[in-house]
């Protein structure tokens, strides 16, 4: 299908921070309901790419298109208004606030016609949104700081999903997580994919997990894309070979 409109497309994105060139021209595309895994080392530019897609940084050059329309995000809010939500590695959760306050952070519900928060409505909707994608927490009134890493990740994902995101960016959702918690997050991602109403981009370190859950993968090394392919046609060995080749080249 050559006439596919991509949910999100990036063309030749570069980013420079002062004298450091973080990205050297990265392109990617994502069909509605598709999931892309981005692999690469720390400092390879994955998180910078994510922050450009989510509107946190502006690219130094290159184009971004949402549903075929060119966009220039001025802020995270602006990207959000185009249906792009990011779940950062630090989760952007406030430990001293309750689960439901975190779920509605910066898009709080107010009692109609007043400046006052509608705690009741937020509590109910947060509980419903969590139940909807099968996330269990002790109580939506619990402070987030009291929850486990997996629960916190799930809340951050649920928050992004419940804001009617069409493209969900996940920055290392499986980092620093035990097997059971990681399994819970992978199951959550698979439930989201099964629903089919959201496209996903996931940054990860674990090749096997990424190939398992994503439709296609790309490898980012030193700010450039060194590999792209369908997960079904790619093996962990192949990815490891690319990394090895890259290291040998770098060593010489």
């Amino acid at each position: 299908m050559s006439d596919t409109t991509y949910a999100l497309e990036a063309r030749n994105i570069t980013k420079r921070f002062g004298r450091v060139q973080a990205l050297h021209g990265i392109s990617l595309n994502l069909k509605p309901g598709e999931m892309l895994g981005i692999l690469g080392d720390n400092g390879a530019g994955k998180s910078t790419l994510m922050k450009i897609l989510s509107g946190f940084h502006a690219p130094s050059s290159g184009e971004l298109l949402v549903n075929g329309q060119q966009v220039a995000f001025e802020s995270v809010d602006h990207a959000r208004s185009h249906g792009i939500e990011c779940v950062y590695q630090d989760l952007a959760l406030v430990n001293t606030l309750s689960v439901y306050h975190n779920m509605f952070l910066n898009r709080e519900l107010r009692k109609p016609g007043t400046p006052f928060l509608d705690h009741k409505a937020m509590r109910e909707r947060a509980a419903a949104a969590l139940a909807d994608i099968g996330v269990n927490v002790p109580s939506v009134d619990e402070e987030v700081g009291m929850l486990s890493g997996g629960q916190r990740q799930a809340i951050a994902i649920a928050r992004a999903v419940s804001s009617n995101a069409r493209v969900l960016l996940l920055d290392e959702p499986l980092a620093a997580m035990g097997a059971r918690e990681a399994g819970m997050i992978i199951a959550l991602i698979e439930r989201l994919k099964a629903r089919g109403d959201v496209s996903l981009i996931m940054i990860a370190h674990n090749y096997a997990q990424t190939l398992d859950v994503a439709d296609k993968v790309m490898m980012v090394q030193r700010g450039t894309c060194t590999f792209e392919g369908r997960s079904a046609e790619t093996s962990v060995m192949e990815l490891l070979d690319i990394v090895k080749r890259e290291y040998r080249a770098a060593a010489q």
Partner: protein
């Protein structure tokens, strides 16, 4: 989650306001027993006039502490604002407009320190330490170092003339601020900014705006407290307020359960904390214990509260997992 029974011990552990409220009630009972004069109209006036100024300032400091900042210069705004009012009136403005001009200037001073803090990344401890001397010098310069009388009239009476004016203002404003902290986006975002600045920014919250706004609010409240106090004592004193009232305000905040680490705090706790400090000061005066002892007690109270806050936080974490 298992519903914890609302027994007194659990309430004391869960609600920081509860333990300080209990301490306050115990103090009132003790002072009433030791001296027959505690519950007299005259004494209640004295107590309320003691703690009204630092209650107002505590409200501002609590918002700043929650946002991860502090304002050491607010006590100097307290002294400066009434002089601004005085000079605005010399320029021909009526009292009420003089008050408004003084409040605007107070807010601008907050804007000044807020912008320096967030724009240039100077820690607010340093910014406001500098501002403390700067504002004090300003007050001494424009006043010539001499106190002057407050203007007579209805405005002054409403603001600070009646015996309970100050405390009434303080309590009403504290309740309003409580609603703002717990039931508006501004309050919630203030907690978010102090609790996780990066996360708050990633969620799209304008953290600079929140911080600067709270600096302005704190200075505004400091200026207002200074004006109320000037009308109450019918004198505008260049040496009023100062570091003393600022420290008592921060002490009230901390004793009431506001964290110095940012991200959590309570206005109601601060109000009760301020009252407890007022009751202590007054009770010691009634008992004839001198002011030096009061400082020892206040200092010890802050240390004990901080230790218990840290311990309770750790205990809560352990007990819930």
């Amino acid at each position: 989650m298992n519903k914890t029974k609302a027994t007194l011990p659990t309430l004391l552990l869960r609600k920081p306001e509860a333990s300080i409220l209990l301490a306050g009630i115990v103090l009132v009972i003790v002072f009433q027993i030791l001296t027959p004069n505690f519950f007299t109209d005259a004494n209640l006036q004295t107590v309320s006039q003691f703690f009204a100024p630092w209650t107002l300032i505590a409200c501002g400091e609590i918002m700043l502490l929650i946002a991860g900042e502090v304002d050491l210069s607010v006590g100097q705004v307290f002294a400066l604002a009434p002089f601004i009012m005085h000079f605005a009136m010399l320029a021909g403005l009526p009292v009420i407009l003089g008050v408004i001009v003084a409040l605007l200037v107070s807010a601008l001073l907050g804007l000044f320190i807020g912008v320096i803090t967030v724009r240039f990344g100077v820690p607010s401890f340093i910014t406001t330490l500098g501002a403390m001397l700067l504002f004090n010098g300003l007050t001494l310069t424009i006043s010539g170092g001499f106190p002057i009388d407050t203007p007579a009239g209805a405005t002054g009476f409403v603001l600070g003339g009646w015996d309970y004016s100050e405390i009434l203002w303080a309590v009403v404003i504290a309740l309003g601020m409580h609603v703002m902290l717990r039931h508006t986006r501004w309050g919630l975002h203030t907690v978010a900014v102090g609790g996780n600045p990066t996360g708050a920014a990633e969620a799209g919250i304008h953290i600079r705006r929140i911080k600067i706004g709270n600096f302005m609010l704190c200075s505004l409240l400091g200026g207002f407290a200074g004006i109320l106090n000037a009308f109450h004592v019918t004198s505008i004193d260049p040496n009023a307020g100062g570091a003393n009232v600022m420290f008592l305000a921060i002490a009230s905040a901390v004793i009431g359960g506001t964290s110095l680490m940012g991200g959590s705090g309570t206005i109601l706790g601060g109000l009760i904390g301020a009252a407890v400090l007022g009751i202590l000061q007054d009770g010691f005066t009634l008992l004839g214990i001198n002011a030096f002892t009061f400082d020892i007690i206040t200092g010890a109270a802050i240390l004990i509260t901080m230790i218990s806050n840290v311990q309770f936080a750790a205990w809560r974490r352990r007990s819930r997992t």
